[in-house]
């Protein structure tokens, strides 16, 4: 590639020299710049090796692995009981989903039926978690765009409320360990449901407020419209999932496409933006998803049945039958899959995770080509990537 480029450059140079020998040549060089791993807006420790022509990105190379923690290997050396507490750390903004994928796969191997109340509770906390994850994304994305001090802080007001709910029901604000193999950990009090109901009532109005500041802001539109256009074909070729894919016009949502848990009983729409697939569409897809999640939570609160919440005894002797199983859930970032081989002992034989951030990140270099430096943050932020989720 570089040889072809340099050949072209040489040809152009020769042509120029032939036309006008009097004008001295203005020599420009490409500049290689390291963005990260220590950079304010790489959301962790991603390293991008950029080849810049002035301010225009010519080539991008993502260097990942700075946060590699061998999560799959750790799973093979820890008991089931230990590992289901550890796995929340993979995607620290949506721990409920990683737990859920693990538990769903283990339950498939077990052939166990999870109590219906537990399934509803899982949907409830997962959708709350989806909202909190998207809210954090909204705040950090606006920081990436340079709105340093203003509205990034407002989404955190609502996120704080959700974290308080989790604290009450799971004991922790980020690493919940709430969804367990065989059910959920704890049945919340009646007052908790009342608080969640109040939250859902006012949340739609809060989203309207965020949208009032952000969506039609002329500078925001300028920075995001027609920036980082991701075609349907490219997105599917790279295995992009989640809101990022849906913003490109593909209505692929596991909750609808391969329904799991009690999602078939719930009514919701999958927001698809079949306009451009630019960063603004990705923003809108996430905002719409928060509204949909809010509706789902309202339905779950109405439909929640009484009954048991746990079928397995939660202690150090927790075991899963021998066998293989795969389960995937729709996390805020896309399809999160977990493949397990169990040999019936207290430890799993093999784990394999399919993480959405990894596939979503792989589409970054083609998106950044020939874009100015400032667009890196607009595009990269809109993909909503969690670095521990990439590196595992």
């Amino acid at each position: 590639m570089t040889s072809i480029q340099s050949a072209c450059v040489r040809k152009v140079k020769q042509k120029k020299v032939a036309i006008d020998t009097q004008v001295p040549e203005f020599k420009t060089d490409e500049m290689i710049i390291n963005l990260g791993p220590q950079h304010p807006s790489t959301h962790g420790v991603l390293r991008l090796i950029l080849t810049l022509d002035g301010e225009v990105v010519k080539h991008t190379e993502c260097v990942i692995g700075h946060l590699h923690r061998a999560q799959e290997w750790q799973g093979q050396n820890r008991t089931w009981f230990q590992y289901q507490a550890l796995i929340d750390r993979v995607d620290y903004l949506s721990g409920m989903f990683t737990s859920w994928a693990l538990c769903a796969a283990a339950e498939k191997i077990d052939g166990a039926v999870v109590p219906e109340r537990a399934e509803y509770l899982r949907v409830l906390v997962a959708e709350l978690n989806r909202i909190s994850s998207h809210l954090l994304w909204l705040g950090t994305y606006l920081i990436d765009l340079g709105a340093l001090y203003g509205f990034p802080f407002y989404p955190f007001i609502e996120r704080e409320k959700i974290l308080t709910f989790f604290e009450e029901v799971a004991g922790q604000r980020m690493m919940y360990n709430y969804i367990r193999i065989g059910g959920v950990q704890r049945d919340p009090k009646a007052s908790w449901f009342k608080k969640v109901e109040e939250f859902t009532k006012q949340f739609a109005q809060r989203i309207d407020e965020y949208e009032a500041i952000v969506t039609e802001n002329p500078i925001f539109l300028k920075r995001t419209k027609d920036v980082g256009i991701l075609n349907k074909e490219v997105a599917m070729a790279y295995g992009v999932t989640g809101p990022t894919l849906r913003a490109s016009g593909v209505a692929y949502d596991l909750r609808r496409f391969k329904p799991y848990s009690v999602y078939p009983k719930l009514e919701f729409t999958v927001p698809v933006y079949n306009k451009h697939g630019d960063t603004w569409d990705r923003y809108m897809a996430r905002v719409q998803e928060m509204r949909e999640s809010n509706e789902i939570i309202k339905q779950v609160l109405d439909m929640l049945p009484e009954g048991e919440i746990m079928t397995k005894k939660q202690n150090a002797g927790l075991r899963v039958k021998a066998g293989e199983g795969f389960a995937a859930v729709e996390s805020p970032r896309g399809v999160l899959g977990c493949y397990i081989i169990s040999n019936g002992s207290d430890k799993a034989y093999r784990f394999k995770w399919r993480n959405p951030s990894f596939s979503n990140l792989s589409v970054l270099p083609p998106l950044l080509e020939n874009r100015p430096l400032s667009d890196i943050m607009a595009i990269f932020g809109s993909l909503d990537i969690i670095i521990p989720d990439v590196d595992r």
């Binding site: 950079h39 304010p40 807006s41 606006l142 340079g146 340093l148 300028k222 920075r223």
Partner: protein, 463 residues
């Protein structure tokens, strides 16, 4: 009910006490050096003592600026942090001193004591010179403004510049050299990009900025900041933001209507607006034009001093910290100081050029202090104290005091506005920034310039 009323109250108390400290410190130094020492030494029989008194008088304006800038910048940083905290539902710095009042003083001491690092491969001389070149213009750029904002107190007239405003503008365009130097000398690619961005940005946004000022000068008929400020005295209707003096006739007519002692209203209107409905159109056009010009000036000034939404040279999420990435310790402190001083100076220029300088916003006919029934009893009560302070030891100069007070209030309103903008808007991209400057602002200012040149022909100004 305001949710954070307590925080707002704390902030007001903090601002009031800080402004008092600034006022007392600056005026105290000026009085000591400019009035007390010369008064004591002037009649001395020694030649040396008389020379000292003359030198003291001469350096007073410089001393005022030198004392004012660091203290003021300290307060501005604190205010910015506290006000931003209010916007974003935080508390802001509130640990050092009462309610965090001494936070920036502590920060300044910390920065002074930090190690001064010059990165490997950096051009040491240029690296050191850059913050100085960035900071120095804000000192000598402020001096011509000093006479304008103190109601032409003779203590602060260091040089009578007939081209005052151009000198200020020229001085305020030098700092970009410092930024480019700092960016280039740092031997850091992020710094280099910040410096180059800054150069491109400053060149493109200086044009609308200067054009908007030139249009005001065209209306005022002078380049001298002192006389521009003086022309606007007499309330908000005389200010340049409302037609650049086009409403003076209206102001006079209302005053005539109220007092019924002066000339009849019809005569006043005839003097100022000789062409009837044509003059009316002129007044409307001028008012609209000057309001737009004020907006353009604010945008250009924001870009000139690298504030959000135009803070591309130091875009934190892109260039880490832009041109000052490699700076630490005292050099960084100087960059920081100069940035806030520049913010204050462009706000002061806006106040002098558009918002009437040290003029009370209330028109004379609305101001209670201008009626004899109010001010005669007041002076009777206060005269024993005031005569001592004003006439005997010259500790208070009422003209200067009121002018400085209003200027400070107006300037800090603009600073508050800049902080508000910072708390709300995302950042532009560099090509969008250029488009906005060259394709929007420059044509608009040129059109307004032509409109104003025609419209001012149908009205009599400042008679």
């Amino acid at each position: 009910m305001i949710p954070n009323a307590a925080e707002i109250r704390k902030l007001s108390v903090l601002s009031f006490s800080w402004l008092t400290v600034i006022f007392v410190a600056v005026w105290g130094v000026c009085w000591l050096v400019g009035i007390l020492i010369p008064a004591l030494l002037a009649n001395s029989s020694f030649d040396f003592a008389r020379a000292v008194s003359e030198i003291c008088e001469a350096i007073t304006p410089l001393l005022a600026v030198m004392v004012f800038i660091p203290i003021n910048a300290m307060f501005m940083v604190l205010m910015e942090r506290r006000v931003l905290a209010l916007f974003t539902r935080r508390n802001g710095p509130n640990r050092v001193g009462p309610d965090g009042a001494l936070q920036t003083a502590a920060d300044a001491i910390k920065l002074l004591l930090k190690e001064d690092i010059t990165p490997t491969g950096a051009d040491a001389a240029m690296f050191t010179l850059a913050p100085i070149i960035f900071f120095a213009p804000s000192i000598f750029g402020a001096i011509p403004l000093l006479a304008a904002v103190t109601n032409n107190n003779k203590l602060f007239q260091i040089a009578d510049l007939p081209t005052g405003i151009f000198f200020v503008l020229a001085a305020s365009s030098i700092p970009v050299v410092g930024i480019v130097m700092g960016g280039w000398a740092s031997n850091n690619k992020y710094s280099l990009m910040g410096g180059l961005r800054s150069a491109a940005q400053a060149i493109s946004y200086e044009i609308p900025l200067v054009l908007s000022i030139i249009t005001i000068c065209l209306l005022a008929g002078t380049l001298d900041v002192v006389s521009i400020a003086k022309q606007q005295s007499g309330g908000i209707l005389n200010w340049n933001i409302l037609g650049g003096g086009a409403l003076t006739g209206l102001n006079k007519a209302i005053a005539a209507f109220i007092s019924s002692a002066g000339p009849p209203i019809a005569e006043v209107i005839k003097t100022y607006y000789p062409y009837g409905w044509l003059s009316l159109i002129g007044v409307i056009v001028l008012c609209l034009c000057t309001i737009i010009l004020f907006g353009i000036y604010l945008i250009g000034a924001c870009a000139e001093i690298n504030r959000i939404p135009f803070d591309l040279p130091e875009a934190e999420s892109e260039l880490v910290s832009g041109y000052n990435t490699e700076y630490s310790g005292i050099k960084f402190a100087i960059f920081f100081l100069a940035e806030f001083t520049n913010l204050f100076i462009v706000s002061t220029i806006a106040v002098v050029m558009f918002l009437g300088g040290g003029d009370c916003p209330l028109p004379t006919w609305l101001n209670p202090l201008s009626y004899p029934a109010v001010y005669i009893p007041l002076t009777n009560i206060l005269s024993p104290i005031l005569s001592l302070l004003i006439d005997k030891i010259h500790l208070i100069n009422p003209d200067t005091f009121w002018a400085a007070l209003w200027v400070i209030l107006k300037t800090y309103s603009l600073v508050f506005f800049a902080i508000l903008v910072r708390g709300t808007l995302p950042r532009f991209r560099i090509d969008q920034l250029m488009d906005f400057g060259w394709k929007r602002l420059v044509p608009i200012t040129l059109v307004i310039f032509v409109l104003v040149a025609f419209a001012r022909g149908v009205i009599n100004f400042h008679v």
